[in-house]
Amino acid sequence: MPISSAVVLAAGEGARLRPLTKHRPKPMLPAATKPILEHVFDALVDADITEITVVVGYGRTHVQSHFGSTYRGASIDYVVQDKQLGSGHALLEAEPEVSGPQLVLNGDQLVEQRLIEDVHEAHDSDSIATLGLVRDGDIANYGGVIFEDDENISEIVERPHDDRSYHLNAGVYAFESEIFDYLRGPEPQFNEYSLVDGIANAIAADETVRGVTSDGFWYDATYPWDLLEVTETLLGNTDGVESTVSTDAQIHESATIVEPVVISTDCVIGPGSVVGPNVALGENVTVGANAVVENSVVDADTRIGANATLIDGVTGHGVQIGAGSTMVGGPGDVRVGDRIHENERLGAVLADRVRDGGGVTYAPGTVVGSDAVITAGTAVSGTVDDETEVQ
């Protein structure tokens, strides 16, 4: 019997994407203009999944209010994980709500329908679990599996650091309901129940855990600037996102749109402005007269002032970029926590509701926290904390 239901794990914040995740969880950050989670749902619906259970937690009202109780004909049920005790714990929270075999996915990673279908087809009830695998990738930062006979998985390791030959665990699973017993025991590590530990428990108990390699698209946005690359990839991929301008958007006749772009509903594009290529404008964004926006992800309700320049920019909700402000574009060095990421292609990240008074210059790699206020004429660089005022 083909699996028709899926559990999507979307309870985590995604701390490395701060300050963009100050108010909403990573699954709700935009890839092009749609939330990452919406791309995941699209892939599931295209793979004929009709019942979706979403485990929500951090910022859950954003998820619930965006999707409601159905998505493209599939029913959506919500399960709340109050404490972030790991991916295995998140799945356990869904146990009372589901029955029979399930597909399980992360709600904060982009997966192509093909990857889901490959797992779907490869799984049969003789195996307790089937894992979707990708041959290449940044295995050291994700999960690896030893997949010797191209059928069964003999070992699963989180962030492996030895030089054995691993396949990347793409985070797309098919599980029989017996998996829940292995998720519960034997002992949680660091007080977290991880999905990988649960699978390792099953392997240790001689259960059959299968793998299937796929060349389906898989992408994870780890840091804020990754949203730019994800958007460019989606806009450049025939299976990604089509270049579109909403019929509800108002575009001045003298504005220039350089495709590919996504211009959402209620946007206003002023006279003489140039928008694109590789630009995603969320709902109700204004691009002022003669402004230039290139290779940027601009989230809903953001106002870009007249004559402003935005290259390689990422904005959150309701950002106000004043007249004549300039984001010259990457590459630049970006500080995240204690680590410096060198030469990243990033103009600047302006988190939710950053306001600049106009004539502000952003050095490449600048990260401005939510609700920060930047006085007109200032030059900004480095990291600006939430709710600070820059003069």
């Binding site: 109780s69 309700d301 106002r303």
Partner: protein, 600 residues
């Protein structure tokens, strides 16, 4: 103030009891102190019970009724006779040949009842409705066929009604409408009937709205509409765009909280296509034919009245003579109306009896009428000369939340259309509101305030100008869902009496935005309250120094009067919600209240 449903299915259709129970559950917002259903074949069987719908679901013997093709159902909100099993609908005649459900009030029921009692009929209930099946029974006694008996009985009635009846052994539903809403749904596997579309929207989106005086005969594959004389009437078939998902809670504990969080989306829908930013104008396509110069009068009830007060003030600011009236007082107030007047009825459901009555009075006096409503093809929309839709989407919680915000915005748009157009800044302010509501939802401390004051003796709300209706609305929300004493006052009125009620156990919520003369006067009133040791909760954008006199602050973005009133109200909705939640109240279905009040 009740909900009715009916269904006749094809032999491969859905189980009639399922359709009726699901339909009633979608109509629960219309009233819920008792519920019941009837199936007519092989013989009339009625199941009904006091209490919520779940009580009915538990008493219906599903196995006995399995395979039923036809059924009618009812949720009741008492107007005549207390809620009880016997007073619940459906009602029957003495010989169990007919079962009837009814929404509305039969004004001449006492006389009809007396006549029937004189003729030897024994009544089971205290309801006005029971006269209908008993009358039908009398006509059946005299040899009338079911449809004829139904028509003869309806012909005797005065008042408002949507009535549906089923007859022993017949897979047909008969229905009639006068001043109470009734809509027919035409599906693949049967024909539906209900007070409101959500009752069957999961089965079909092809609907046909009945008009006053219409009769309809439902069979599995057809609905034949006729007038009182039996002449066939053509009612257009429309397609409704309601998504059944909107009627589910999507992970929220209550519809009310869900609907509070839906406000950014609802407000975007309200504004969509109505602001021409490049030309700097408001463009209301709904009102393209409305060219009005004269005075404007608003009529409305409850929350919609508060929106109307706000709208009237917006219009006055735009240079239009405008006033707001309580719809239920409009006729008795002898408000002067002439053919220069535009009378605007604000009603979420479009079925509010008091508002419809006031609009009819106005139309009779020669005024032009405009309905501002959320419900497409509702009675208000069909009866008025013009309609402005607020586009909030379905609202299930009895306490209005998102529809109030959408009414505020729609009325602001109306003011810019009838009066002075908007400045660039005002247009931008309008476009910013949906996102700012999201900001309030992300950052609110309303829950902590609720925890602090859940045990207060009373709650007072004060505001001036645009914030006066917000104060009234804040108090109404608090009353409706917490059952606690709450009052809203114009801030300046406090010292003219209500200040005597203020103690250290009565928190005062003060709405203050900006730092103009109005704000400073309200701050003066806040000081009066503070001097009486009452805790002060300021809902403010932080522009003024009101925070110095407040014990707590509920912050909103600094956006001016227009947006400020919308945002401040969202904070007060959340305070009321969390107080009610902490008190364990029935938030979506508060006692004694119904969503759409279709009786006067």
């Amino acid at each position: 103030m009740c909900g009715i449903v009916g269904y006749v299915g094809t032999s491969n259709g859905v189980d009639a009891v399922d359709v009726v129970l699901d339909g009633l559950s979608s109509l629960e917002y219309r009233g819920y102190d008792s519920a019941g259903l009837a199936v007519p074949t092989p013989s009339v069987r009625v199941h009904k019970t006091e209490g919520e719908l779940s009580a009915l679901e538990n008493t219906v013997p599903r196995d006995e009724l399995e395979g039923a093709l036809t059924g009618i159902g009812h949720t009741r909100w008492s107007t005549h006779g207390p809620p009880s099993d016997v007073n619940a609908h459906p009602h029957r005649d003495e010989a169990d040949r007919v079962a009837v459900v009814h929404n509305g009030i039969i004004e001449n029921y006492q006389r009809l009842r007396d006549d029937l009692v004189d003729a030897g009929v024994t009544f089971q209930s205290e309801t006005d409705t029971e006269v209908v099946p008993q009358l039908i029974g009398r006509y059946l006694d005299r040899g009338a066929a079911p449809e004829e008996a139904f028509r003869l009985a309806i012909d005797q009635l005065e008042g408002s009604y949507a009535i549906a009846a089923v007859f022993d052994g017949s897979e047909t539903v008969y229905a009639a409408r006068q001043d109470s809403p009734l809509v027919v749904g035409l599906g693949e596997t049967g024909t539906y009937l209900a007070s409101d579309v959500p009752a069957f929207v999961e089965h079909t989106d092809r609907v046909c709205y009945l008009e006053d005086g219409d009769f309809v005969r439902l069979t599995a594959d057809d609905a034949v509409v006729t007038d009182a004389e039996g002449n066939s009437v053509d009612r257009p078939i429309e397609t409704v765009a309601w998504d059944p998902e909107d009627a589910e809670k999507s992970g929220y504990d209550h519809y009310m909280l869900k609907e509070i969080h839906e406000q950014p989306k609802a407000l975007r829908q309200c504004l969509r296509g109505r602001i021409d930013d490049l030309d700097g104008a408001v463009d209301l396509e709904d009102l393209a034919d409305l060219d009005h110069e004269g005075p404007v009068q608003f009529v409305a009830c409850g929350t919609s009245y508060h929106a109307a007060l706000f709208g009237a003030e917006r219009l006055r600011e735009a240079g239009v003579r405008a006033q707001a009236f309580l719809a239920s007082e409009y006729a008795s107030d002898r408000v002067p109306i002439d053919d220069e007047t535009l009378v605007v009825g604000v009603t979420q459901s479009g079925e509010t009896a008091d508002t419809l009555r006031a609009l009819r009075e106005a139309a009779r006096a020669g005024a032009t009428t405009l309905a501002v409503t959320n419900t497409v093809a509702s009675s208000a929309a069909r009866e008025c000369d013009h309609t402005l839709y607020i586009r909030a989407g379905p609202e299930i919680g009895v306490a209005a939340t998102k529809t109030f915000a959408s009414q505020q915005l729609a009325l602001a748009l109306l003011a810019f259309t009838l009066g002075d157009g908007p400045t660039r800044e005002e247009l931008e302010a309008l476009r910013d509101i949906p996102g700012q509501v999201r900001t309030v939802l992300e950052t609110t401390d309303a829950r902590a305030i609720a925890e602090e004051y859940v045990d207060a003796d009373a709650y007072f709300f004060i505001g001036r100008g645009y914030h006066y209706p917000v104060a009234l609305e804040g108090a109404l929300k608090m009353k409706e869902i917490t059952y606690r004493h709450a009052e809203g006052f114009a801030a300046g009125e406090l010292k003219h009496g209500p200040l005597a009620l203020v103690t250290e156990d009565t928190p005062v919520f003060a709405v203050v935005t900006g730092d103009d003369e109005t704000a400073r006067k309200t701050i003066g009133n806040v000081k009066e309250v503070e001097a009486r040791d009452a805790p002060v909760v300021a809902i403010t954008d932080g522009e003024s120094d009101v925070t110095r006199y407040a014990d707590h602050v509920l912050e909103i973005p600094a956006v001016g009067d227009l947006g400020g009133s919308v945002l401040a109200n969202v904070q007060l909705q959340l305070v009321a919600y969390w107080v009610a939640n902490l008190l364990g109240r029935s938030i979506d279905k508060p006692r004694n209240l119904a969503k759409s009040v279709t009786v006067e």
